[in-house]
Assembly symmetry: C2
Homo-oligomer: 513 residues x 2
């Protein structure tokens, strides 16, 4: 190790001379340069597609409790049964999906942080939805508005998280009826990265759209996607009012939606990965078709969220072979359909940020990455099957995202400089390249440095306190919160947002459910 | 969750009726049914191959301290310089490699546990080499012969570990000069899975070959590969006496070798992933060529072990984007050359089995899996950059291996039964498939169950003691050691082995270095 210790010293010199090591600009999103992993061949893919078409044509998918949606379907020529099941003639869903943009931009408050979704682009978004939070200091508890803000500050400062999602944790200590207003306001002021809007009630979706119009101005709003709603179908084969109304609100305003069937195989879908994938395709495809009836050309992301089940408890499991395969296959199906895809994420059933959490998250995320998912919600911070946001987990996942960003965005450099032929003139057999000209020219940008990985010797690691990755994440998280600086925002815009929130809070009754 | 709880109960019924749930026979190795991930296109692959050819033709690779090896090269028509550098005419290395079997069997003492190496087959082998061991009870200490035996017992009982490797830990409490005899004897009696033999000194390799002949009998030995030696070149571009002699001993006896350049980019190779991959290819290729000069048709596995470096300390890092890419690329290069490949493993720089350990190991291993590595040494148990075998880590890694085994060996079932069309006749929109006929027919074999993953609710997990995966692995490890039963062995063979070991111990001086 003497040689590498020596190299360590050589390395540090240029940094201390120049003060802080130069920060290489991190991209706002990933432009993928490496191929996709194609797991299935043509015959199997066609088999899955035919099943999805059969579900849409023969079995039918119900649209419940939204008469407007059923009217839209009837006018479009769909067969709407007395049981509210919608059946489409052969090819109609695919035909309607053709106006969905294969690729589109979501404009961020800071234009440098705008993301492109679809095609060869990949966007990592934070955890979405957990009612609980956990950290090493205070353990597990219901999320609060203070947690929400802290987590947003962390996501804002983590360079490998491109998009803040929306419900980074559920702020359970403020009223449900007006919660979305506080969450939107915090997203819009704490960070300048892109984010999603509220759903559940039509009014909340409308508030999201209205506040996005304030932030971006009508000109930008009318000509761009600036906000999206994140929706789950009520699998199996049911699209409820929440989904239909949110599609009508977001897509109706020219904004975007992502619709993900959440299928626990054996419960919301058959106990078969293939059948559940086909069902997810059918459900997403009919929602995509519906979005285009509402407004042709409006952005739509096809989602997929498939989990397996523990035989011990019947509970959902994550990072297992079945969802790994499903990630790869749904990637192929989305490309064939020409739709932007959301799938996967850093998913786990573990309660804490231990070896199980990271093993499951990484198998899940490695497949998500190679599968080519375009919008990856839950890419950092997930614990406990989505019931809990982990402060430390957020940072630990973000570390891996940096690695995926490099794999996808850079691939393998085989330029003349990368082939380093000159170095072989300087080094004898059994010698070392530490001091070679090529090494000196390239070492500072050669490797991804994962901030939380400890690669020191055991002796050094013990001297530093024998910490686990989770403990190091805890320390780093606190430092990041200390160092946080709010991104600049126009004061007029801020006041207008405050006025909107205040007005709506007066109009809405305080409700806690 | 009521539905899934209900399912849990339904699930358990058939098991309690029939007593123990049926154990599905685990395969002795993996016959891969899914495609490889092809990261690079033709042009970049050719670029890497040309560089390897240039290194062999122009730069040369030194064979040091083994005059016999240089004689073999001279007779074959190589250019051997005064500096012992061997340079081969264009195409000669590739031509010689053509007699290497693309696929071969390593026969195990128990024929049902024999493995096929090469082609579409993948074999997971245990950790190899660490001088230290670690568990939660006693922490980190030098490995002992007691540890060696315990770890072997665990590897023997873990169904997803197909091959026991050799130095599962270094038994540092017994003399170096005769240590290999005790290790071989324990491999041959504690388990009936295949394993490797000793290297370092020519005599130790010869003892390995001789003892394998006793175990398998001359007939099986002479007509099969029953033992192999695991070798590292002395990168850059140096093949030392240990390697050349072991090739002459193992391949000379018709047995196999694996030769892996170990390249820490920036030290033993240029600080460039592409250049280091090419160098690894050149070093492995010239050793492959040499093995065929020794004995045409003898088994040879091309190895690759590439690591990146921490800018903080100059220490090796694992599971990072550079070695992940290298796994994928070397897989492509090995297939083009038609050689069985060893690469990757469950690698990490972490000192303990925490989130870092599993994140790095899983990114490393997921890429190893998809890359198509045929023989995966270090697939379970690695900690601390290979300096330490983790008892808990062995079990935690083996859990993931079960997942990879299912992905690779089963792919996605799209049979009529898997498409589950009948289930849609039983389930209404928004309903559930828990009790459907299809679910009842298939749930017991639908999912991989990772023994150490806790997927229970947080409340249940707390009731069970709020354990981490590492703690659960510790408990399971102790139970496995309690339950261990030695596989049957012919008493005559056992006595013959004991007599050989006793005789050799008399002949060899006791030495501790």
């Amino acid at each position: 190790m003497a040689d590498t210790e020596n190299m360590g010293r050589k390395r540090r010199t240029p940094r201390s001379e120049r003060g802080q090591r130069e920060v290489i600009a991190t991209p706002a999103y990933i432009k993928r340069v490496v191929p996709f992993y194609e797991l299935l061949g043509e015959e199997q893919l066609v088999c899955l597609e035919e099943q999805a078409d059969w579900l849409i044509q023969e079995v039918g998918i119900a649209f419940k409790d939204d008469p407007v949606a059923l009217d839209i379907w009837r006018k479009a020529g769909a067969d709407v049964g007395a049981d509210d099941k919608v059946r489409l003639p052969k090819g109609m869903a695919r035909e309607l999906c053709k106006t969905i943009p294969r690729e589109f931009q979501q404009v961020a408050r800071n234009p440098e942080k705008s993301v492109r979704i679809g095609g060869n682009n990949q966007v990592f978004a934070a955890v979405y939805g957990p009612p609980f939070v956990r950290d090493l200091d205070k353990g597990r508890r219901y999320g609060s508005i203070e947690d929400f803000e802290k987590l947003l500050k962390l996501a804002h400062n983590l360079p490998n998280i491109h998009h803040n999602g929306f419900v980074i944790c559920e702020p359970c200590d403020i009223p449900v009826s007006t919660r979305h207003l506080d969450m939107l306001y915090l997203h819009m002021t704490t960070s300048d990265k892109p984010h999603l809007g509220a759903i559940v009630e039509k009014e909340r979706a409308e508030d999201s759209v209205a506040m996005a119009r304030i932030v971006h101005g009508s000109d930008t709003f009318d000509n761009n996607c600036v906000i999206m709603g994140n929706l789950n179908t009520n699998s199996p084969l049911l699209v409820d009012k929440v989904v239909a109304e949110a599609i009508r609100t977001y897509n109706g305003a020219g904004q975007g939606v992502l619709v993900s069937p959440f299928i626990l195989q054996g419960a919301m879908g058959p106990v078969s990965t293939a059948a559940s994938i086909s069902q997810a395709l059918a459900e997403a495809m009919i929602c995509g078709a519906f979005s285009q009836l509402v407004k042709p050309g409006s952005p739509f992301i096809m989602g997929n969220f498939l989990s397996s089940m523990s035989l011990k408890s019947g509970a959902p499991t994550f990072g297992m072979p079945e969802p790994v395969i499903s990630n790869y296959v749904i990637g192929q199906l989305a490309r064939r359909l020409g739709l932007p895809l959301r799938c996967g994420g850093s998913l786990t059933a573990s309660k804490v940020s231990d070896g199980q959490a990271m093993a499951e998250s990484v198998d899940s995320m490695h497949s998500t990455m190679l599968a080519g998912a375009n919008f990856i919600l839950q890419s950092a911070g997930w614990l406990e099957g989505g019931l809990c946001t982990g402060y430390e987990k957020l940072l630990m996942d973000a570390d891996r995202l940096g690695s995926y960003q490099k794999i996808l965005g850079q691939g393998l450099d085989t330029s003349d400089e990368a082939m380093a032929r000159d170095a072989y003139g300087e080094v004898e057999p059994g010698g070392h390249f530490l001091g070679s000209g090529h090494t000196m020219r390239n070492y500072e940008t050669a490797f991804y440095e994962a901030p939380l990985s400890d690669s020191e010797s055991c002796e050094q690691w013990e001297e530093n306190g024998s910490t686990t990755a989770e403990q190091r994440a805890n320390l780093r998280m606190k430092q990041m919160l200390k160092d946080y600086e709010a991104p600049a925002i126009d004061e007029g815009t801020k006041e207008e947002l405050q006025a909107y929130v205040a007005k709506r809070k007066e109009e809405l009754p305080e409700a806690w459910y």
